[in-house]
C-alpha cells in the first residue's frame, strides 16, 4: 500500500466517521431534547479535520520514484469525482433549502456554513473512496 492509499484510507475513515457520528448525534439529541439542542451534534463534523494530518503522519515512500504517471492519473480522476460529487451535494442542499422555505423564506446564516462544510466533506470522502477503488481494482489483478 503506497502513501497515497494510506492517506486516502485515513481520509475515508475520518470523513465517514464525522458524517456518521454527526447524523447519529443530531438524531439522538433531537429525539431527547428537540431541535436547538440537537444542532450541537454537528460538532462531530470537526473530526473530519483530522484527515488533513494524513500527509504529516504518513512519510514519503521509500524508493527513487514515489509518484508516477499512473498515480497522477488516479489522483486526477479522484479529484474530478470528488469535485463533481461535492457540486451535486452543494446544489441539492441549496435547492432543498429553497424548496423547503419557499421564495419568501429565511434561513440562519449558519445553514450556509453547514452546506459548505457538508460539500467539502463530500469532496474529500469521494476523493478518498475513488482512489481506493481505482488502486484496489488493479490490486485484484495482481
Amino acid at each position: 500500500m503506497n502513501r497515497i492509499q494510506k492517506v486516502s484510507w485515513l481520509m475515508v475513515i475520518t470523513q465517514g466517521s464525522a458524517l456518521l457520528l454527526a447524523v447519529v448525534a443530531v438524531a439522538v439529541l433531537y429525539c431527547l431534547f428537540g431541535f436547538p439542542v440537537a444542532k450541537s451534534g454537528l460538532g462531530f463534523l470537526g473530526i473530519a479535520g483530522i484527515g488533513g494530518l494524513g500527509p504529516l503522519i504518513f512519510r514519503k515512500d521509500p524508493g527513487v520514484v514515489t509518484c508516477d504517471e499512473r498515480d497522477r492519473a488516479i489522483n486526477s480522476t479522484a479529484a474530478k469525482s470528488g469535485f463533481g460529487a461535492s457540486y451535486v451535494v452543494f446544489y441539492l442542499l441549496c435547492m432543498g433549502v429553497f424548496f423547503a422555505k419557499g421564495m419568501q423564506g429565511m434561513v440562519s446564516v449558519e445553514v450556509l456554513a453547514l452546506i459548505c462544510m457538508l460539500a467539502g466533506i463530500t469532496a474529500f470522502l469521494v476523493h478518498g473512496l475513488t482512489i481506493l477503488i481505482l488502486y484496489g481494482r488493479e490490486k485484484a489483478n495482481e
Partner: protein, 70 residues
C-alpha cells in the same frame, strides 16, 4: 469496435536475465505497482512510458505492445 492492448513485458523480463519488476520500474522511472498494473493489463501506459519500456529491452514498441481490435 472494442480494443485490447496486450504486452509481453513479463516474458521479456525473464528473457533479460530474470529482471525484477522493481529493476524495470527503476529503469523506466515508475513505481513497481505501475509495472504490475501494466503487465496485468490494468493500466495503459502513456506513449512515452511505453517507448521507455521498449527501450529498456532494446525492442521496438510494437514488439512489446500489441493492440488487438475485437
Amino acid at each position: 469496435m472494442s480494443e485490447k492492448l496486450t504486452n509481453t513485458i513479463r516474458r521479456l523480463r525473464f528473457d533479460a536475465g530474470e529482471m525484477t519488476q522493481q529493476a524495470l520500474a527503476d529503469k523506466v522511472g515508475v513505481t513497481r505497482q505501475t509495472i504490475i498494473a501494466i503487465e496485468q493489463g490494468g493500466y495503459t501506459p502513456s506513449l512515452v512510458l511505453g517507448m521507455k519500456i521498449a527501450h529498456a529491452f532494446n525492442k521496438t514498441i510494437e514488439e512489446v505492445f500489441r493492440l488487438e481490435l475485437l
